[in-house]
Symmetry: none
Subunit: 306 residues, 5 copies
């Protein structure tokens, strides 16, 4: 175990050794293994946005085995996907990459709702039977249906921990409680990350926040305390603080879409701000594989830097 990994795991000593073993498996795997940083390949977009919107750009992606292959070749720390994809593809890759079974999902065929709520689509027992290291779950803080989601993840997290599985929470502010712009507002993202941490998540995934501040009551304190929010690094630092001062790992999705350079600049910001890594889906699997691997390696190089 490297110093970096040992130091991170020391924050999880309240969890049983099984949970810590599975966190270690993620932290020790792939190109970034041992650095304390991680890049995860998630592929639930087919469920979330439909197959064509997700995979037509690079139609190898229709086959879930492709994503296993991509994650392995690129040296990702883990691959996250819903039940069916893992059931279909896992057998040829057993032991090749840590797996996160995404236990709830939402689709875009469902009528638009101001207050969305995903469906539970798998179980902790499924995760064990499929050899996964963690379960994944999405919550939408800001949705009026918060209680349903919070209590679903609570039950799942409790069972997962008993079985030594790690818990990864996608915390995506969304719902009638906040504006569209508010979904990525720095105060809202910080709050959403904190909620996930309080609910016992081991790894928290949020969107890279903007400088916007959504909540009036929060505005005051940000101003009075002069909390720096100008750069990506500033904002990431605040998110990291908000997840128990960095004692729970927070990783980021998103990043500038204007160019690869701008995207990498964002990654550098995450790194500087003390973020634990990235979860990069469409931006990787929609490119031709070679290009995707190159792109992911570039991102990893940034995280591997001091």
């Amino acid at each position: 175990m490297t110093k970096n990994v040992a130091s991170i795991l020391s924050y999880y000593v309240g969890e049983n050794p099984g949970v810590r073993t599975n966190l270690a498996r993620i932290l020790n795997h792939g190109t970034l293994g041992g650095t304390g940083k991680m890049v995860i390949l998630p592929v639930d977009q087919g469920f979330e946005h439909g197959p064509a919107r997700s995979f037509a750009e690079n139609d190898l992606g229709y086959d879930p085995a492709y994503h296993f292959k991509l994650a392995v070749e690129a040296g990702c720390n883990a691959h996250a996907a819903p039940l069916g994809a893992i059931e279909t593809a896992v057998s040829d890759y057993v032991g090749d990459i840590p797996l996160i079974l995404k236990l709830n999902n939402h689709d875009s065929l469902a009528p638009d709702s101001a207050d969305p709520v995903p469906s539970v689509t798998g179980s902790v027992k499924d995760a064990l039977r499929l050899g996964c290291v963690a379960v994944g779950f999405t919550i939408y803080p800001g949705s009026a249906q918060f209680k349903i989601m919070y209590q679903e993840i609570r039950g799942i997290a409790e069972e997962a921990k008993q079985c030594g599985l790690a818990v990864v929470v996608w915390s995506y502010p969304r719902g009638s409680g906040i504006s569209k712009q508010g979904e990525t507002a720095v105060d809202v993202v910080a709050y959403a990350a904190h909620i996930a941490a309080q609910m016992g998540a081991h790894i928290i995934k949020v969107k890279l926040p903007t400088r916007h501040i959504e909540l009036e009551k929060a505005q005051k304190i940000y101003e009075s305390r002069n909390i720096p929010l100008k750069t990506v690094a500033d904002r990431v630092k605040h998110i990291v603080q908000s997840t128990f001062d960095g004692k729970r790992m927070v990783i980021f999705s998103g990043g500038s879409k204007t160019s690869e350079d701008a995207f990498c600049e964002d990654i550098r910001g995450i790194h500087r701000g003390g973020g634990f890594g990235s979860i990069i889906g469409r931006n990787s699997f929609q490119r031709p594989k070679e290009e995707a691997v190159k792109f992911l390696k570039k991102v990893m190089d940034i995280y591997a830097g001091q």
Copy 2:
């Protein structure tokens, strides 16, 4: 085991041997046994549309035993029906044809709802006690009640798999999230098929899609990628792709009603597009038996061709 069957089963190696045995039973049975293609006789129309609308055309159909006889004589791969019909008729046909117990159903007496949800009407234990090889379940992607249905099938599928039963999902887009025309739009059907696959279905049943594209966001990618959708075969190919690139079996209901020739042309399209077969209800059991058998054999001949 033929090469075709072995090749299909290799995609299910993430499932236990019991599930694979029951998939093999369907694939090895009847006229198409061993070809890797299937024709299934489903009779839940009595529940869905009422007995007279379903069976008055050919009143032998009021007796569930008739459908067993028809499915056996025609050499179907399996027969699907709700609990009561199977309980009533199975005893004279034990072992004669693989059975799929339809575990939820919807009726037309219920007040019209923009967002329908079927009722669970049977259990995995029922399926075992009745000697079935699989359970069947309908979901309506596009209904606001998606969460109820998705979580019901999730629990049923988990239990079914533990017991070695296969899981067949009827994925029928329907609800306030989509237009009437959208129910058979190719993008929507592809999406609905993908959702079923992600939820762990082993066999997915959808309606034969039209060329219509429902979702604006999807429209763009279909156009920009120039995805061929002109012929039935084109569209079927896209649906097959959308179910893990053909690693989960997708079968089709529906087909042209203008003439038998047009219908058969559609079947040829399904075959050319790589579809795994058809599920043909009213179009068969509402004809006189001899005619129905002849008709089904004709369909099977198409699927049996190279």
Copy 3:
């Protein structure tokens, strides 16, 4: 369903359709499919006598896949084996032959005991997960440990039937209650078969009985009623009578070892006496495969005769 099979299944109408489906699967499979007769290949000798004594004669038999292949090629109705063998070999043969999971086993390393008792080595859930049609279980009527075995099979049979699995009982008189010669005495075998039937077995397997009568109290009635016991057919007829007058299927192991002709003469006797078939282990799998197939086909030809 043939008349013969329908007639046999009519005796099991008190059982659920799942149990009858699985009995039908055995009765409809292989060379004797539909005749109402069966030949089963059991391979638990490795566990019972050790691997070398079982498989050195034809060392392909060390591999459990060999027995699947042999049973399939010979057209046996079913293959019976312990957990490990089925777990290891089933995947390449899913759906190719009905399987009976032997749920208890005894080994010869255990110290000699006047009153033996096998160990439970598998579960009904294992049988479902592995795609088996039945569970198998050995009882030793005559052993002082009878209560343990009887109650084990009772619980297993109850659970198996709820899951639609058939129950096959190996009823082998053995223990301090009877002499060595008594183990195959016709009165004792009849009694043992009857006990198995009373415990809810669907198929009962006994050794081919000798003319010896073991029990003094039974002796009287056999004499006074002048029950014919001279020929194999006579004795088989008596055993068949003892299993509810033929309403539960009884099959036989053993047979003359002096020559193949003598063995076949015994088979003819079983057939004439109304026995439902044979279970032939070492006598088949210890021969070279071609020879074994030929031998089993010869036996099946006898059973197939009118």
Copy 4:
């Protein structure tokens, strides 16, 4: 055990010795140990109001370990926090301070609701695994969602008591049943405290009530009986009466914000009124630590006085 503690525990003799042991642990710990009074440090504000609003004022508070340290140094009787905070920080403080696991929480991202309901975010099993002495739970008497909350705490309290854990209920009147002013009205607070006592709470936490009387029907009796409500001590006495005449411990949050002196005057009022102590969150952890410790010690000195 001091006389004071023995006297208090005598009121809990209907509970099992495990519950009483854990109450004793709270009563015997810290600066006020043995006095029968308590000061508790609760930190769930991050969940309730967001991390920046809670911790930016004194940003050491982002780290849950800080609150453990503060509670220990200040000699608090117990520390209360949600799941994630305790999981993260407990390991360095095992045995150092009695812990109350807050089992439900509410956040401010959720859309405003006239009738709020928190989410259950932890379990009794979590409390056991983390070494807590009690579970905490918030109810909102006055919310239309009362039934959900009351039944959740009922189930949790039942399970907690079976495990020997104490039950602390935060009883906060809130919802469409009462006015904003009514939330701290003395009749409403008394009523809310009584409901908590009736539901089996061992320790009840309410806000320090105002002189306002909310309920018309209550008004009459307060007037006709001339119940003294003028001073803090008067009102506290009434709340204490309302919790079974002092046989269940009631503690108070809030207090004057005009100055520390005014705040201490309120504490003196609580003490004179027979209140069992205070639960002081933001007012302590948002100050610099030294100052906070000094402040808490001051409060404790008051409670320690005769």
Copy 5:
């Protein structure tokens, strides 16, 4: 996944992907990772023979952390130990080496028994909570207490497999059914290995057999078939055959004690005979660490050779 590992895992395709993942973890770890061979460090000798007899030779071994360190430094594939040792030492090594939780143990304080039976000392849930990849269990074929042990491992194995854990069985012939010399007789060891395989073990551990043949009935067949037993490789080959013709991994303990060279010659024999590796306890941890590492590396070099 290397070809060797993929080829071995193909034999376990009847098991769920979780089990296969954990087998892959063992096969892919350490110096021999990917070769299809393994060397495991087991330390249950303290329980079996007492601490001084086990650890006084090299008293660092009193500390269970020492064995983790040794296994990691030597590049073993896995470390096996009883509950307490793993609970005590695992935290500093989470993720550093695959762990096998030994679920039963026997001690030498118990009165000598002709028919020993170990005690179950841990659970499948313990294995999950501690992050283990497998459970280990000892059976004593030949003991009159066989039924207790066989049924214990059966239940444990069923639960372990459902949870995706691999099952390792130590099969040690011992008891009144066999002589002292018989415990390592080649026929008995082959038989014991076969029993473990039939009970569903994924990895089987036996002692390196001698040329002695114990069972009279077996003697005949060894002679008549002229089974080669002269060299270690011959005998290992026979054991490998007896575990489903090499479809279940068998590993060996023991080896010549006359010299390190003689020991290595035995390892070469195991390798030539197709054995899957060694489990080396006292012979490694009773040496000074550096020497032990060197010694284990030497053994691994042999297995790594073609």
